[in-house]
Symmetry: C2
Subunit: 312 residues, 2 copies
């Protein structure tokens, strides 16, 4: 599926990190993590026209960058600077339904200033991973005329950088957040009402990620519900949302258009990649996929929600 010539270019800005994760399957240290690591890998299954901007410290293993490069991802925007790589330490509840952050060591991420190279400034699709909204806005000042800008954010920025976040939101097309973040941002529990409030802040579409309840797209008065695959083996939810975003944006780059129909299909591709991501730790769930396996899970999701349209 890489051979199509009309692929749009996708620029991904996000974190590249190490994660230490405790949970029902034990303690795992120094796992590859970070939003850009999941997004770029998931997107690379759909298009070779992906470039990443991020930062790592001098402790970061070069092999992870080389792996992305081998997938066709332009890694020239991943800068290496002296210091420690961003490090997240978290613990999941025994049932994996909740998690808490035990430690966050920003390291080189503390002074990260995304620099978009000349050849990346004409990117047609831009995905702003979950970083400081002021940095997200700075990226948008550097790109020229992207057809679609999507962004993620998190509770931290909603709480402590709301003004910066609102400025950035006013400049993006699509916001992708989880249900708790949507409620927090809108100060409204009901998701449909929360969506209506958020769509007044700038974005023309909102994607609410709901874990094993799937994802909802709201735009222009309409809605789309992408199912989640009911999985028997869930090991690590870390990166599921980023894998979803990577699959979605990668498919949009591959499909070459942004019609509502294509966006719905892209949501399903997002759900496919998210479902693979949670089955293993780190990026392992999306490491060695094939087009056939991706197609198989897409078909399974199709079958999962298939029903006959009847008239009473």
């Amino acid at each position: 599926m890489h051979q199509r010539s009309a692929h749009r270019s996708l620029l991904v800005v996000g974190s590249v990190a190490y994660d230490d994760i405790d949970g029902p399957f034990g303690f795992h240290k120094d796992l590859l993590g970070g939003s850009a690591s999941f997004i770029a890998r998931a997107a690379a299954y759909f298009t070779k026209n992906v470039s990443v901007v991020g930062v790592v410290g001098d402790d970061f293993e070069q092999k992870y960058i080389d792996e992305l490069s081998a997938l066709g991802v332009d890694v020239s925007g991943i800068e290496r600077t002296p210091g420690e790589t961003f490090h997240w330490v978290g613990r999941y509840a025994p049932d994996l339904s909740t998690r808490e952050t035990l430690d966050t060591r920003l390291g080189v991420f503390a002074t990260f200033q995304p620099k978009i190279a000349e050849h990346q400034r004409d990117a047609q699709l831009v995905l702003l991973g979950n970083i400081d909204p002021a940095l997200q806005l700075d990226v948008l000042r550097q790109v020229r005329a992207p057809a679609l800008v999507a962004m993620d954010t998190m509770n931290l920025w909603i709480n402590i950088k709301r003004d910066d976040l609102l400025k950035t939101l006013a400049k993006v097309h699509t916001l992708m957040i989880n249900d708790e973040e949507a409620r927090l941002l809108a100060e409204e529990h009901n998701l449909r009402r929360a969506a209506a409030k958020i769509l007044k802040l700038g974005p023309t579409s909102l994607i609410i990620k709901r874990g094993d309840a799937g994802a909802l797209l709201f735009h222009g008065g309409g809605a789309f519900a992408a199912p989640a695959m009911p999985l028997a083996d869930v090991k690590d939810p870390t990166g599921a949302g980023d894998s979803f975003a990577g699959g979605l944006m990668g498919y949009l780059a591959y499909a070459g258009d942004l019609s509502p129909k294509t966006i719905r299909t892209a949501m399903i591709m997002g759900s496919v990649m998210g479902s693979f991501a949670v089955e293993k730790f780190s990026v392992d769930g999306i490491r060695d996929l094939t087009p056939a396996r991706i197609q198989q899970r897409f078909d399974e999701l199709t079958e999962l929600v298939q029903f006959e349209r009847v008239r009473l």
Copy 2:
């Protein structure tokens, strides 16, 4: 949609009750409630071949029984005995996401012994609402050869009457419970694994109701996900699961077959009726519907999950 002649007969056994409900929209006293009240009303939109077995006290307003009768429901099995009608008092959290039981006064329900009349014993579809599993089993001893027996249950019975529940489960085709009940019954958080365990207890299919995350059907290794309508106005979740069950079973009675395809459509009809139920208090949300409004929401749910099947 009542005119089809091949309608199967549906027997509903459950509670008829008064509810006092506190929550974000104030305190509402003496609302019509009970599983059978929601189930029969929802089912009656699809078929006139519904009969109800239940019990009320001498405080119960006759008008509610007359209303069901006017919908074509056979209410001859609703017995009236001296004493207080079953009364549930509950309080919802401000965001409606959780509820607690403040008081349960069983009243005449404490000595309820379902008596299935001769003309009801050949019912082709049987829906056992959430009552003591020993009583559910007693109903199954009285009916002859139903093509489909579905049942609901709740945390209380799973906790204090597990042995009786397991005996009843071994005799039914379909169990319909919510996600928390499925986890409790299977002693397993993961819903796919919980489903696999529950399907070893007797039922050939399991329907897990997940509120605004929709409903999942598991049977014979396969799965179906029915979406929930994202609603802006949710007033009272009471009876949503029973309305879902009534819509589902009513549609099955109407359709006249139990093929996997028909069951999927029936799940969507269940979701339709559940979505109407939560928009108003008591049975008001499913009180004055028309075939056109039901069809409209069915079509909206269809559109909600519609996407193009692509090949990569």
